[in-house]
Symmetry: C2
Subunit: 213 residues, 2 copies
DNA sequence: AGAAAATCGTACCCTATAGTACGGTTATGG
DNA sequence: CCATAACCGTACTATAGGGTACGATTTTCT
């Protein structure tokens, strides 16, 4: 039976996995750069180097390949965004670092492309949007919320619903994302300015109330 | 009869304009609902009722027709959004009314579809995004900024760059738009809550400073 | 009425592209 | 060493869709 054999794969199996990964990598790049309709299976097969029959032996249709790509890209994206929050003892510094990273991330070319593709796909399968939202932006906000709640307990911020506060803080970055999605390229200086502005605004809005202990 | 015919067009010209408008109306609906690639010229011609030749006699290509549609839709959209700010003597009430309308607008089905289509088109013609941004969201912000500047002069808000403040206020609505673009349907109650939350947050962040005159 | 413009219906061309078929070839495993 | 699974190359099918051609017909202008 040998269930616990993580890798006692023969060369056959190994090669198949490599091949599948190679196909996914190529397809991912193409789909993210040119969208679903902009990419032909023939083009992918051509770059892959083999014959079209081989490609179809791994993915039975264009849709199946595309779905696999979206799965992987969203997973990677989420994992990257989740790492942006690095706690420190200074609240303002923590928030600045987080917002700076988040702004960089959401205005990056790859994020723009991913959002574009996702948005286009929500039409075809509406549940995908909800899935993406819950596993992407929502998780980030939950993580951030936990941190804000800490700060609230410490009296660094006024008491409030931490999830809504996190939603507000990240929403403040969405204006920039909108501009990015409409073609604007942000410079480092712009990111820096925007970061400071957002954090300052947030800290004012959630400043501890004078009367509180 | 001659009811002050602003345009002494013969029936020929009149009919041509009607026809053109009819084509645009049909094409607009199709493009907004199914995107550029999702619509075939044959389908538009079929719904129009005539022959394909006629369609091509009005618009020389699919791209030309599409561009005309985007022009019109963005113009309508902008005009509608520009009317959302109705000044009153109560700042909070004014902002609430504006934000409520804006949230409703940016989460509406038609706005979502428009943004989707625009986003998809930025790839093909990057300058379109910039044009849309300047004539759409940016104009709204300028209008709002003028109003905020008034409030700042009156001491209802602390002195600050009004355009950046307007950008922040509208950014706060973008989180909701993101959710809408990912498929979430907002209820009236959600809009109401979100409105109150955003305006409260904004007013806290831009509260007049204690030391000021 | 008669010329001119627009329209119609329909058949057609051309290209792109998803997906298939198949016979020959190479690598893998036992 | 041989059976077999994967692979290759290439040619092929089928369909969709943008765009054209053209003769017949209707509508409008003068």
């Amino acid at each position: 039976m040998e269930i616990v054999t993580p890798k006692c794969l023969g060369k056959r199996e190994a090669r198949k996995q490599d091949r599948r990964a190679a196909i996914l990598a190529i397809a991912k790049r193409h789909f993210m750069e040119q969208g679903y309709v902009g990419v032909s299976m023939s083009a992918i097969a051509a770059e892959l180097g083999g014959s079209k029959g081989t490609l179809w032996s791994y993915f039975a249709s264009k849709e199946e390949l595309f779905d696999a790509c979206v799965d992987e890209v969203t997973r990677e994206y989420r994992e990257q965004v989740m790492q942006l929050l690095v706690p420190s003892d200074n609240l303002q510094a923590t928030l600045c670092a987080f917002i700076r990273s988040l702004l960089r991330k959401v205005t990056s070319r790859e994020a723009i492309q991913l959002h574009r593709v996702i948005h286009a796909e929500v039409e075809r399968s509406p549940e995908m949007g909800e899935i993406f939202f819950r596993r992407g932006p929502q998780r980030t906000r939950e993580l951030l919320a936990a941190h804000l709640q800490d700060a609230m307990h410490k009296g660094q911020l006024r008491a409030a619903d931490p999830l809504k506060a996190a939603f507000a803080l990240t929403s403040l970055c969405m204006g920039s994302q909108q501009r990015a999605m409409l073609g604007h390229q942000f410079s480092d200086a712009e990111i820096e300015d925007e970061t400071d502005y957002i954090v300052d605004l947030f800290l004012r809005a959630f400043a501890p109330e004078p009367g509180a202990a």
